[in-house]
């Protein structure tokens, strides 16, 4: 075990990102797909903070990007859950396979 640095952070966030991608591919329930998206967004935030901490420590821009991503993720989650609840009301299911009317 060596002292953690930038590469450890980037390995961690890459692994977390692809865990989220795996969940997004395999899940077919809208709520669990939303959870995978949250994991992906968090790995992006971790990347921004790691770059800000280890490479561009004379600026705070990575930190601001993270703050704005968190705000936008909160708005996105709220809208997504409103859509999910509306979908459940009309279809009695939140499985993506059952919501295909828009296709035709």
């Amino acid at each position: 075990m060596i002292e953690p640095g930038l590469y450890h952070m980037l390995f961690l966030s890459a692994a977390l990102f692809f865990i989220g991608v795996y969940g997004f591919f395999t899940r077919r329930n809208l709520v669990t797909m939303l959870m995978s998206i949250e994991l992906i967004l968090n790995s992006v935030n971790l990347n921004f903070i790691a770059f800000n901490k280890y490479l561009w420590y004379d600026k705070l821009d990575g930190l601001f990007f993270t703050i704005f991503i968190i705000a936008i993720a909160a708005a996105e989650a709220a809208v997504a859950i409103a859509i999910i609840i509306n979908l459940y009301r009309s279809h009695k299911s939140i499985d993506v396979e059952n919501a295909e009317e828009l296709k035709y």
Binding site: M9, L12, F18, I19, R27, I67, I70, A71, A78, I81
Partner: protein, 172 residues
């Protein structure tokens, strides 16, 4: 090997293991709880990096806001104790392969890449520095994006109410 190194590896293991469990478990409520632990692990890593403000925001917004919202939506849309249907084996293998190939590609690029480190003076991420730059209108200030995000949040608020509104029966 110092204590801080051990803490980093523990936090990273907590984040990755609970993230993996969150996307693989069959019970949807457990998936939400594992997601909660994964987000707490990330907040711990922000604390470890000494970005305390971001860690606090992470705990307030993600752990306190989004996960609670997700748990509420699970309660509203899921039958209690019902397991998610198992996915096809082929799809699982294909997804794992795709994710693994992507990860391998990124890691290979990462190992080969040489990062350039700036040689400026370090700015500490204290709340005073963050606040001054966040609301600054001079060069490098973030006042305009701040206002845009507040408009976005207002729009999301109104949009949620409109989408989730129960439509009244039509009256002639």
């Amino acid at each position: 090997m110092s204590g801080s190194t051990i803490i980093f590896y523990l936090l990273a293991a907590l984040t990755l293991v609970s993230g993996l469990l969150a996307v693989t478990t069959g019970m949807i409520f457990r998936a939400a709880i594992y997601l909660l632990f994964s987000l707490i692990g990330i907040a711990g890593i922000y604390f470890w990096l000494q970005y305390e403000f971001i860690a606090a925001v992470q705990i307030i917004v993600y752990v306190g806001g989004i996960v609670v919202l997700i748990i509420f939506s699970i309660f509203l849309t899921q039958q209690a104790g019902e397991e998610l249907p198992k996915q096809k084996m082929g799809r699982q293998i294909f997804s794992a392969l795709a994710a693994f190939c992507g990860l391998a590609l990124v890691l290979v690029q990462l190992v080969q890449h040489e990062f350039v480190i700036t040689n400026g003076k370090r700015i500490e991420p204290t709340v005073a520095n963050i606040g001054n730059q966040m609301l600054g209108v001079s060069d490098g200030g973030y006042a305009l994006p701040f206002e845009v995000v507040s408009i976005l949040l207002l729009a999301a608020l109104i949009g949620c109410i409109v989408i989730a509104l129960k439509s009244k029966p039509e009256t002639e």
